[in-house]
């Protein structure tokens, strides 16, 4: 089926198989390999992208569903070669180890901040509950989100998650 889809502000017209997931379409047809496949079943959140302004697990969306839709991925997060504030905070707090979960974490964190500009630690945990980090550096990730939303104090004791 032929689809028209806007990804990170660029309009594409592509032929895509009906059984192709949005994730495969992004990675293999558009070459946007920042978005990762972890579990393929909506458990891990590594494949999180924005679909029409809401975060979804792209492994559980068909590419054809995105026809006439808008997608944003990690490749659209920085602009003009400059990291976003959220990306900078992840960098500053060492919230990236192997990096496999990072793209999805950034997407979910952005959605959280959009709805809750000054989240508490509990709200951050809930906003990121669908994103697994197996390295694991949840504390640093939570610190990064707190930092970018003005809630971070260096001495704050974070409860282990």
């Amino acid at each position: 089926m032929r689809i028209n889809v806007t990804v990170n502000g660029i309009a594409y017209e592509k032929d895509v198989a009906e059984n192709r997931t949005l994730l495969r379409f992004l990675r293999e047809d558009l070459g946007l390999t920042g978005t990762k496949e972890g579990c393929g079943a909506g458990e891990c959140g590594a494949c999180t992208v924005f679909f029409n302004g809401k975060t979804v697990n792209s492994c559980m969306v068909l590419a054809v569903e995105a026809n006439e839709g808008t997608i944003e991925t990690i490749e659209g997060e920085s602009s003009g070669g400059m990291l976003s504030r959220l990306q900078e905070a992840f960098d500053r707090h060492h919230a990236v180890q192997c990096g496999f979960c990072t793209a999805g974490m950034i997407m979910s964190a952005r959605e959280l901040i959009h709805h809750t500009p000054h989240p508490t630690v509990d709200q951050i945990k809930e906003g990121l509950e669908g994103n697994f980090c197996r390295c694991t550096g949840y504390e640093q990730i939570i610190e990064a989100v707190l930092d970018v939303t003005g809630g971070y104090t260096a001495k704050e004791e974070l409860i282990h998650v």
């Binding site: 979804v56 697990n57 492994c59 559980m60 969306v61 054809v64 979910s108 959280l112």
Partner: protein
Amino acid sequence: MRHQFSYTAPTELTDLLTLLETVGPGARLLAGGTDLLVNIRNGLVKPNTVVDVKRIPEAHAIMSDNTKGLRIGWAVTINDILRNSDIASSYQLLQTCAHDLASYQVRNRATVVGNIVNASPCSDMAPALLCLDASVEIASSKAYRTVPVRQFFTGVKRTVLKPDEMVIGITIPIQSKGAKGKYRKLKRIQGHDLGIIGVAVARVGDSLRIAVSSAAPTPVATGALPLDITDSEALAAVDALISPISDVRCTKEYRRFMVSEFTRRLLAEVRS
């Protein structure tokens, strides 16, 4: 995924229902896809046509009326429920249950109707819908009927739906002032997890209702119990409803014990 199928996304309900009749059991309806697409990927279902039901505008409607109650369209997502102010003020139990369903991204896609049509014993929305005496609106190209949620489930992953039928909405009667409901789900972790068991207790009018998930082939609920029922009578009524199994998550004895324990705690909360 390896299995191949055709995809269609009707923009009118009548077209959708006609299609369902023509294609028959080979068609599968795609709403949030959080169950269907995983099942196709795992080879558990092999549809020849996937019918996307989200391109019809009324699918997304939540209508709240002071006399008729609440109506939820067939593609209303779990996060739509959580963001709706009418539901927040008058149907809190729905939000409490919605809040415990999977993860944020899944809640952005998963639908209330999909959660009951999937008919998993561990459905998170079923306890709320059972307690609030919801009805399921079912349509085919030829007929329309409504079925109370308590008669909707017939077994594990089985419902009263026929191959040419689909659920087009869920209605919930208006809740009286003082209505109160609580849900508690036992999980291995605080975050995103399937329930080991779940219990909802609601005060509806001058009666109590108790619903349980993950402890029988289907979600189950008591009928209307008197408000002044003793704890032991209420616990006996719940115990008679359930038939838990032992599996990878826990033993049937533990399930039975925790259903009682959660019921006891929730009764105290609802009565306070």
